[in-house]
């Protein structure tokens, strides 16, 4: 101790399972979510008229009858808002102008004094369409035969690392060319070639999207919403409306589950656009559950082709992958999911020869967005089954095969750079041991078959190379600490972790730290977005830097007042102490008012406010032809999952008996919250494996309700999920930490698929492995009659 800047030891409460900061508010009903904010009787209610066609031209819109309805205050259409909006590729208008591209595409918006009047007004808007041929398959959409959905693609603005292919439906094309795949096949003792199809699914936060917007006479706009990305919304919506970011304010209360669906901009821009036409009045738009299913972001569909080969002794020699991402009508994030799946396309393995083609394809399906795992669950679903198949083909145990091939410190990655220290091998061993790999237990009944399966994963935060975080740390008259951040708590526990990091870095009890919420872009410091499992690492670094800045100010001020060496001072439990003079003073006495000078002639110091920021400065681009480069990403979190399950021969129903999971989080700032993430991700992954599928027929979702789109309930979860934490430190993480929020859902589908194969010897083209599908496949395979 005493080292005032570097603090090499891990200080309390870092690494302790502190209770959540927000738990009491949330169990008493006091926590305020967007829909809970009271706006009084000035509030207007918005509803959206949406396209009934997957693909059509708008030939006319007549809003006159709607405008004449008493109680209607504004009716807007695409003609009112010419600007483009988009995160990586500006490919959409807030309201459709000349063309609709999915069922649900916003065509017009109404604000009225009640929801009922707004609904009634929608019925009075007359729209004429000229229906066009829809594109309903990602692979077909990428072909030259397909109708082109965005004829103006060449004119859209795109980030430098996104490569749209004008004249086609391909909004991004990412390639890996490493080694010589063609030549390598001859050296393979075994080759597996498979096609997988991963359906669209939805995030299904229990809270649907809510946005309330208000514009004033001076052109300033305020948006209240359940947002993962308040700053990105400020930036993108301001750009689309042609106003200054400084005139756009986003206030983001608690988020009732996000999983990516509330990142970037989706329906928020609709509320803002309408509000600009009824200045002074707040306009509220709440998505119904049905709208949430197909007009909020969905997880993209994927058609994936894998070919992989290994040598006789079980070493991976080559991989050739083709991914067709069914990105839907627009691509807020899809273009970058395409890129991320490309630069991660080897899976967590060292493979000397890799050829990958990853296509982001416009279709007339709902808009693909980021969802927990950002393409990795979809990609790993097939890849990790092929790994099992390859191992079995050469007669090697799949765990042994993974042991040989999985990434280790210094392994050469698919992009040509080197893997950093990683605990992937430890995760593999722990998971295999926890599931008693190699021991086949007997089924619980004669009409059941039992199996075990395991899968590995890796995932990097997928983001621009220079995504930044900032934070401030302020102290109050009683010595308590306020931490300002611009990242969001979606339930993952970010605020609690930030409080722990600030307490540790400053030297105060955890209970003294409060996070200044709700996030408000007017007062909160900048944060790129709450996505990519990047907050503990990136925002955490900013918070630690801010707390250390405050600490330095306090120690310098005290040292000067006491005439001592600041390196001999420390802050312990909220008390500044001197190791040389043994003097001490509580923070509360000095952090606002400063300290008297040694001779009592004046004062030193004043209100303490620490500031900190973090932005990675080492990420380089990748060669557009080969996908090779120095450092494509900041780091990879790795892990493993295993399951034991039973297949009911009478019904085809799958019961997950138990699960095991281990992830290398670098350093668990709050171990119980890490475990909670691992459990929650396991169950969400299990739900996507067994139940979830958006049934899209001619672009129309057939099952937009919880009755028809089933998610896991309390009765579906296994008896036990063993969660294990591995800690191989991240060199630039706060005390070594890296993220884990999304990762826990990545290997679940292939682990379950591998276990199903182990139980009944059947593989499926893709999830969900519903009872019906399993039963019919067993019939066809002759397992049952």
């Amino acid at each position: 101790m005493g080292n005032r800047i570097t603090q090499t030891e891990v200080p309390k409460p870092v690494g302790e399972s502190k209770p959540r900061l927000d738990a009491r508010e949330k169990v008493t009903g006091a926590a305020i979510f967007a829909d809970d904010i009271q706006f009084g009787n000035a509030l207007l209610h918005a509803r959206i008229l949406r396209s009934p066609h997957p693909h059509a031209l708008i030939t006319s819109i007549d809003t006159s009858q709607a405008e004449a309805l008493p109680g209607v205050k504004a009716v807007v259409t695409g003609q009112d808002f010419p600007g483009y909006i988009g995160l990586y590729l500006l490919d959409r208008h807030i309201f459709c102008r000349d063309r609709v591209r999915y069922v649900g595409d916003p065509v017009a918006g109404v604000a009225a004094i009640s929801e009922a009047i707004a609904e009634k007004a929608l019925e009075l808007i007359e729209v004429e369409y000229e229906v066009l041929e829809p594109v309903l398959d990602g692979e077909y959409g990428a072909s030259p035969d397909s109708t082109v959905i965005h004829p103006a693609l060449a004119e859209y603005k795109a980030a430098s690392f996104i490569l749209p292919q004008p004249g086609t439906n391909i909004s991004n094309y990412f390639k890996i060319r490493k080694g010589d795949v063609e030549q390598a096949w001859g050296r393979c003792a075994a080759i597996v070639e498979r096609k997988y199809r991963i359906p669209h699914i939805q995030h299904v936060p229990i809270e649907t999207h809510v946005a309330i917007a208000q514009a004033d006479e001076t052109g300033k706009v305020t948006l209240w919403g359940n947002s993962q990305s308040p700053f990105a919304q400020r930036n993108l919506i301001a750009q689309a409306l042609g106003i200054s970011q400084s005139d756009m304010r986003v206030i983001a209360p608690y988020v009732g589950g996000g999983f990516g669906s509330k990142a970037g901009v989706s329906m928020e821009s609709l509320a803002v656009a309408i509000a600009t036409r009824v200045k002074g009045r707040p306009v509220k738009l709440v998505l119904t559950r049905e709208e949430e299913f197909y007009t909020a972001f969905v997880r993209q569909g994927l058609i994936a082709y894998f070919k992989m080969g290994c040598s006789e002794d079980g070493r991976l020699v080559a991989m050739e992958n083709r991914f067709y991402w069914d990105a839907g009508a627009y691509t807020e994030y899809g273009v970058n999911i395409t890129r991320a799946s490309g630069y991660s396309s080897s899976g967590p393995y060292e493979v000397p020869n890799v050829k990958t083609d990853s296509y982001c394809v416009y279709t007339n399906h709902p808009v693909g967005g980021p969802m927990r795992g950002f393409g990795m669950p979809e990609m790993h679903a097939g890849l990790e089954q092929c790994i099992d198949e390859l191992a079995l083909q050469i007669g090697m145990d799949p765990v042994e095969f993974r042991r040989i091939n999985c990434l280790k410190d210094g392994s050469i990655l698919v992009t040509g750079s080197q893997m950093h220290p990683t605990g992937l091998s430890q995760c593999l061993e722990k998971t295999a041991e926890a599931i008693a790999w190699g021991h086949k237990a007997l089924p619980s009944a004669p009409n059941k078959r039992r199996g075990k399966g395991l899968a590995l994963m890796w995932k990097a935060p997928a983001m621009p190379p220079n995504a930044g975080s900032s934070a401030w740390v302020e102290l109050t008259e009683d010595g308590r600490v306020a931490v300002g951040v611009g990242g969001q708590d979606l339930g993952q526990g970010a605020f609690t972790v930030m409080a722990q990091l600030a307490a540790g870095a400053l030297g105060v009890p955890y209970e003294w730290v409060k996070v200044s919420t709700p996030v408000d872009t007017r007062y909160s410091p900048y944060e790129w977005q709450t996505v990519a499992s990047r907050l503990t690492w990136s925002m955490g670094n900013a918070v630690v830097n801010a707390a250390r800045d405050a600490r330095r100010q306090i120690l310098d001020m005290t040292a000067e007042a006491w005439g001592e060496d600041p390196d001999k001072l420390d802050i312990i439990d909220g008390m500044v102490v001197s190791y040389s003079s043994e003097r001490e003073v509580p923070l509360k006495d000095i952090v606002i008012y400063g300290l008297p000078k040694p001779d009592n002639r004046g004062w030193i110091g004043g209100p303490v406010i620490g500031r900190g920021k973090f932005m990675p400065d080492y990420v380089t681009g990748l060669d557009p032809e080969t996908g090779q480069g120095e450092r494509a990403v900041v780091h990879y979190t790795t892990g493993a999952q295993a399951v034991e399950l039973e297949v009911d021969l009478d019904t085809g129903q799958i019961e997950i008996i138990r699960g095991a999971a281990a992830f290398d989080v670098g350093k668990a700032i709050n171990p119980e919250m890490v475990k909670a993430q691992i459990e929650g991700g396991f169950v969400q992954g299990m739900s996507s494996a067994l139940f979830e599928c958006m049934q899209l027929k001619d672009g129309v979702m057939q099952n937009p309700s919880f009755v028809d789109y089933r998610i896991a309930t309390s009765c579906d979860i296994p008896e036990g999920i063993k969660t294990m934490i591995v800690e191989v430190p991240q060199d630039d993480g706060p005390w070594g930490a890296r993220g884990v929020g999304e990762h826990s859902m990545v290997p679940t589908v292939p682990a379950i698929a591998n276990a199903i194969y182990d139980a009944i010897g059947i593989r499926f083209e893709g999830p969900p492995f519903t009872a019906e599908k399993v039963y019919l496949a067993m019939l066809e395979a002759g397992i049952i009659t």
Binding site: R20, T28, D36, I206, S705, S714
Partner: protein, 154 residues
């Protein structure tokens, strides 16, 4: 539309309210009485986020008309804690780490309070069954179930 004057007890307090015939209990609680702890997740009785107790029974308040609640005793999440002292279930769910985003939490607390009121020592299977209508997307239910088991031991 006609209004109906009803009396009902909400969290121990007698209320007299004028409600339109088509107003749901959820709307009455959230919009008229500012009891926003009860959440709306689907407005179709499928997610359980709006669960409240009506005369001791857990019910989806989005499916109940306010007028049907004349004379009823309603408990919402705001009524669980007494004099700032958390209910045993509230405390146990916090300690077990069963809270993440918190949106399903009010409904889950009400369902589990009603369960323990009628079955003070539920088995794990009882708890799972009671919660089947309360969807949670964050936690995977593991710690919620642990918390309720712990609360039933208090």
């Amino acid at each position: 539309m006609g209004f109906h004057r009803i009396n009902l007890t909400i969290n121990g307090e007698l209320e007299q309210v004028d409600v339109p015939a088509n107003m749901t209990l959820l709307e009455l609680l959230r919009e008229s009485l500012a009891l926003t702890g009860t959440k709306n997740g689907c407005a179709a009785g499928e997610c359980g986020a709006c669960t409240v107790m009506i005369n001791g029974e857990p019910v989806n308040s989005c499916l109940v008309l306010a007028v049907e609640c004349a004379g009823a005793e309603i408990i919402t999440v705001e009524g669980l804690a007494r004099d700032s002292q958390l209910d045993a279930i509230q405390k146990a769910i916090i300690d077990a780490g069963g809270v993440q985003c918190g949106y399903c939490t009010p409904g889950i607390l009400i369902t589990s309070r009603a369960l323990i009121d009628r079955n003070p020592h539920p088995s794990e299977a009882d708890i799972r069954e009671a919660l089947v209508g309360n969807l949670c997307r964050c936690t995977g239910y593991v710690r919620i179930i642990e918390g309720i088991q712990e609360a039933s031991r208090m």
